[in-house]
């Protein structure tokens, strides 16, 4: 075999990768924030929200969790224009990822909420707090703390989901790698580089979530 590895061949394409990293990071942060908010809202509805809308949330959650992400993305990007909703690739990617994360986060957070000891609700009630106040000030934070590791993993999965979005020409890391290897035919090097970038970002994301936890949950010990 005469073909050697030549990472120097990638140097010219550094800006393409840089763009890819920026796009992947942007997607992950925006989607992480919005998806988490959606997940909390849905988890609240499913556990203690108005009964009339609970079935709709359940349908949404099951629909998303039992269909492939790629199809969800294609539906939003290629399907919705048929009913007059045309989104740019970035908007479509964000929408698809938020909708996807929202459903998974809902189920994860719901488990955290359901593990709340009954005494917490009784103490809040006896202090004249409303159900919504109880959720907001008493239930939510410990619930998130309980499931923080699972939520972190889900967020990493969502970040990898951005790779799928390269299919609709979102210029993320995967898009960059595809583009580069189509130009210089150095597939091996391009995908090794992409792999290492994803690995680094994933480790960074996990570390970020750990640090966020330190701020959000001053009590380190998981609480009953």
């Amino acid at each position: 075999m005469a073909v050697g590895l030549d990472f120097g061949a990638l140097a010219d394409y550094a800006p393409v990768f840089a763009k890819g990293v920026a796009v992947t990071c942007e997607l992950t942060l925006v989607v992480g924030g919005l998806g988490l908010a959606l997940g909390i809202l849905c988890a609240w509805v499913r556990t203690q929200g108005p009964r009339v809308i609970r079935p709709f949330v359940s349908i949404y959650v099951e629909l998303i969790r039992n269909t492939p992400f790629l199809i969800q993305l294609f539906f939003i990007f290629f399907g919705l224009p048929a009913v007059g909703v045309s989104l740019g690739e970035m908007e479509a990617a964000i929408l698809a990822m938020v909708v996807n994360l929202g459903a998974y986060a809902c189920e994860i957070i719901r488990a955290g909420i359901e593990a709340t000891p009954r005494g917490q609700y009784e103490a809040s009630a006896s202090l004249a707090m409303s159900r919504l106040q109880t959720f907001r000030y008493v239930v939510l934070r410990p619930a998130l703390q309980r499931i923080w590791p699972a939520l972190t993993s889900q967020l990493v999965i969502v970040m990898f989901g951005s790779a799928v979005c390269s299919q609709i020409a979102v210029e993320d890391i995967t898009f960059a790698a595809n583009f580069i290897q189509s130009r210089n035919f150095r597939a091996f090097e391009a995908y090794i580089a992409a792999t290492l970038l994803y690995l680094a970002l994933a480790l960074l994301l996990r570390q970020g979530m750990r640090m966020l936890a330190l701020v959000l949950f001053p009590r380190r010990r998981a609480v009953r």
Partner: protein, 241 residues
Amino acid sequence: MSLIAVTEVRKRFGANEVLKGINLDVAPGEVIAIIGKSGSGKSTLLRCINGLETIDEGSIMVAGAQLADDELHLRALRLKVGMIFQGFNLFPHLSAGRNVMLSPMVVKKISAKEAEAEARARLAQVGLEHKFDAYPDELSGGQQQRVAIARALAMRPLALLCDEITSALDPELVNEVLQVVGKLAEEGMTLLMVTHEMRFAREVCDRVVFMHQGRVHEIGPPDIVFESPKTLELRQFLGMT
């Protein structure tokens, strides 16, 4: 006029009738101990008075207002009646001070500054002003229960319901909590407490209620109830047979 008026209250869990027509009037400033065997309905009675359980028949009045089971009325009732639990039920993610501040801030909408002053005063009242920043998992059981008392007091209730508040404590921690309760009683707080601390009940309470099988079986001043119980069940309960 009585502060709490319980009239012919019945409560069922499915087919199991747990309260079978309870009558009890509590005067302002009165301290009442509720004693009785396990399963006699003591906790259920307290929980009904605070609206944690709904009643099937009868009525409960607190400070002239009827207990109704919509959220608005319940919350109005709970502003008047505080409750302390066997398991403390402090909020684990909040410091002692924040535990005490939370409800005045979100329910009564008072400013953080006022709430903090109030919390410091209430913690001082239970001898824990120095634990303002401590988290529940850094406190002993006795200290946690005292924070729970301070938390209830911060809402300025007219009466406190206490359900076996020393039962989960190590024996050496029981007294620090009882002392706080004794002081509250002296200061004129209306107290309705389920307890197994017979000596304490005897020293502090104005009246003792003996519950048996969902009924108020005997009621009276502690010296009468403890010295000369009229019924066989109470004599048995007191180990006097």
